[in-house]
């Protein structure tokens, strides 16, 4: 077990991980004839719980799998690979109000992620990996846009906090 956790502490080569994710896109199509997209799982849960859909559907199951797979990883790796705190947010905002400030920023960021990805027809996985693999012009345009925006905003945040 020690050996497994040692292996999991280090990231696999990027091209190996990329090949695995690409093969999952192929496998979702080969088994379910569906397009992979994780945001769709959140949407399926919201739509079911708000009475907009009669069932959770396969996408909610896929999301449950993502949760379970991460849980399994954490167990085999002997702990979380997520750093302490929450990145730049908890390093920048400290003190008594940290939970409130960081919580509100994460909540607002989440709103932008949910609304934006829904409008764009997918998130990093749905557009960035699956839609582009399927050759969808909309996914190429969306991916270029969110990558450029995220990089620009990250640099802007970095210049403000350093």
């Amino acid at each position: 077990m020690k050996r497994v956790s040692d292996l999991l502490v280090t990231r696999p080569p990027a091209f190996v991980l990329g090949a695995v994710l690409g093969l999952i896109v192929v496998a979702v199509l080969a088994t379910l004839n569906q397009r992979l997209g994780v945001l769709g799982g959140y949407s399926a849960v919201v739509e079911r719980l708000s009475g907009r859909a009669p069932s959770f559907g396969w996408r909610a199951s896929f999301l449950l799998g993502v949760f379970g797979g991460s849980l399994l990883f954490s167990a085999l790796a002997g702990g979380s690979t997520v750093g302490a705190g929450y990145g730049w947010l908890t390093r920048t905002f400290t003190g008594d109000w940290q939970v409130l400030v960081v919580g509100v920023l994460l909540l607002l960021g989440g709103v932008l992620i949910g609304y934006g990805a829904k409008a764009a027809g997918g998130c990093t996985s749905g557009n960035g990996i699956c839609g582009t693999a399927l050759g969808s012009p909309a996914s190429f345009a969306a991916t270029a846009t969110f990558m450029a925006t995220a990089i620009a905003v990250t640099f802007a945040i970095d210049s403000l906090i350093t």
Binding site: A14, V38, G83, Y86
Partner: protein, 160 residues
Amino acid sequence: MSVRLVAIALGGLFGFAISWGQFTDPDRIREMLLLEDAYLYVMMATAVAVGFVGVRALRRMGTRALVTGEPVSWTTSGVERRHLVGAAIFGVGWAVTDACPAPIAGQLAQGTLWSLFTIAGVAIGIVLFLRGEERRLARPATPRASAPSQARPLASAQTP
């Protein structure tokens, strides 16, 4: 084999893979978005290349989906304004939280409770979008209710 079991298994593999790639760590994502680490870009390029070839091989072989039995097929979309505007909004959220939908679920699984805020936000964002779409679709329905000959467009209107 049920659809649900296959979806959970493939989702599990996906979740395991992104956790191993440390995409659940906001600092890792930030390094990638600050162009200090090429991992994300190499990973995405490889995933797209493998997926691109793989799905076309499936289609060329006339494969039927193993679980559903349908012929493997897909449709693509042309670029619309919503794809660009939505993606820009998503990009801002990604930069602020240094996370996107799959890693957020992975963070929660690994015990990062901060992700509960992000998950709540994602759910609110989805509800706001759905309500906006419902309002948008309901708007032309009122004047057209008195003109049955023009009621057809609603039938083809769908949310993405």
